[in-house]
Amino acid sequence: MREKVQVSAKPSKIFRDPLYNYISVDRENDAWLLALLDTREVQRLRRIHQLGVSNFTYPGADHNRLAHTLGVVHLMQQALAHLGRIDRRQQIKQARAPLLAAALLHDVGHGPFSHLFEPCLGIAHEEWSIKIVKDPETNVHKILKSFDKYPPSTVADLIDTDNRDHPAWQKALLSSQLDMDRLDYLRRDSLFTGAGYGHFDFYRILNSFVIDDNNDLVWSEGSKLAIEEYIFARYYMYQNVYLHKTTRGFEKMLEAMWRRARSLSKDGTDVDLLPAIGDFWEAENPTVKQYLRIEEFTVMQQIQQWADHADKPLSDLARRFLQRERYAAVEPPRPDNELASANYDRWERALADLLKKHGYTCVETHLLRDELKAKYNQPYFPEKEGDQQSARNAIRVRTELTGEPEEISTQLERLRPITTRPAAAQVRYYLPPDMRAEVQKLRNDWRDIP
């Protein structure tokens, strides 16, 4: 007698995606994941630009956090399927659901315009992701709890970079030098900006790692060229997209505008706050509910209102932001002595005097400083001392010759120029464009240390 073929009554849920073509989720076994996806907290990510205001520079960069989140879930599914094929240990199976949940929820705490708005509200998105998962009032929490197997606290601990209760490989898949988040956003951001960088053989990377004796991730030697491509993709995307001078200028403008409004509001000036923003600012410890009410459209409406505000510095910034009127970028003088950064206090005082002479009296809105830490100028920065290496600070490949994990740049000569010559921190100033020539002159005549 012919055996009856078991066919699932519910076919997989399919999402069309420009990067992977199809992303599928099993409706039967992973119904909980689809329920999580449909929560209002996760759906809110549709209304958050993945790249903040990069669309001021790259008009196509209008993709949202939800699409990225789905991409991370897809890659996590692939990575776990690969692990399941090569490693039969129970811990792999048990970790699947919490890791998929953490992949789906890792960015759920993002606010308007993703990372760039964090200083405006004084928040860190990771902390809000954890709060949203832990808050019994959120639908995310309720769904996780209702499925019982995956307590919200486990998912929150996986997202929390400070928490070390889970094996290193699990944390590394979520956040490390080569994690699912980066694998998705580099290619996705490249596609939507049209920047043309950011291509690498992600499929090989996803299917060539193992868990080592320290419970950490290590890649096979055969994947080293794909990893090399990935590292260069990171380098090009940071240089051309994430740290683009124009984008950074608008980010600083947005920050300065919100700082100005906050300071006016604290001094008792009515800054015509929308209720969602007013409630958040007034609360000593804002609740998750208060936080989630601040949407990108709330922020844009607020900026529109400020464009007509009586405070000229505030309305000027709001108007410039809405009309995409750039400030000019100026580099500060190089320090005379390499042991200290330039004497920025003196330099900034000189710039402020110059601005005032030209009628720009509000320095906080007309002189914007952008400080990029060295780590953001470096696509991949491995720790070179072997006894301090892990997937968090190094990408390691297991060499066929010795069987030992080695940091990848020791195996690929071409990577050494970017790993052994680290980038320095960078400071830039943004100010009204009509000031550019005079500031350049000041800079050329500058002596740093008196």
Binding site: E338, A340, E385, G386
Partner: protein, 182 residues
């Protein structure tokens, strides 16, 4: 607007304070900076995260390598069971730059900020390396939950140490002696 906090000058001074001007191992550098920062040395304000071997700062690692690349530090390597261990000393040019810089107004201000931690820094630089690793791990957990017993337990769990053992006891004592935050 604030200035950049941790600067090449600070790292150069730590190396100058090491015995014979040679600071042995990057791990020692990391843990000394973390413990000094925890002791209240605001000038050493780098961002740290917890790694297998205790608190680790990519910023400190990057600053070290930038200084080597710029010829401000001399780096020597020695093989060990994990690959290599690295040691750092000041180049002749850096010694001269230090003198000039410390005579300037900015230099005098930075010297003042660091000088009060000189004795502690010198003591830490010569401490046993595992003790530095455990003490900085205890300090890291104490920052997350300001309770010494909890910090000790978490550090033991994380480092797989015997909770009653001498090594964790000595590490907790060192961390308690240094930590200023509540």
């Amino acid at each position: 607007m604030n200035g950049v906090v941790m600067q090449p000058y600070h790292l150069a001074k730590l190396i100058q304070w090491a015995p014979s001007g040679l600071l042995k191992s990057r791990k020692r550098m990391q843990k000394v900076v973390y413990l000094l920062k925890s002791a209240g040395c605001a000038a050493l304000d780098a961002e740290f995260t917890l790694h297998h071997y205790g608190p680790y700062s990519q910023e400190v690692a990057a600053l070290t390598d930038q200084m080597v690349s710029a010829g401000l530090l001399q780096e020597t390597q020695e093989p060990n069971s994990f690959g290599f261990s690295y040691s750092y000393s000041l180049s002749e040019r850096t010694e001269k730059l230090l003198k000039v810089f410390e005579a300037s107004d900015t230099g005098k201000r930075l010297v003042g900020e660091l000088q009060q931690f000189k004795t502690t820094a010198k003591e830490l630089i010569v401490e046993d390396l595992p003790k530095l690793e455990y003490a900085s791990t205890v300090a890291y957990f104490y920052r997350l939950m300001p309770d010494w017993e909890k910090a000790r337990r978490e550090a033991c769990k994380f480092k797989k140490l015997d909770e009653k053992g001498d090594s964790i006891g000595a590490a907790v004592n060192l961390a308690r002696k240094l930590i200023k935050f509540p």
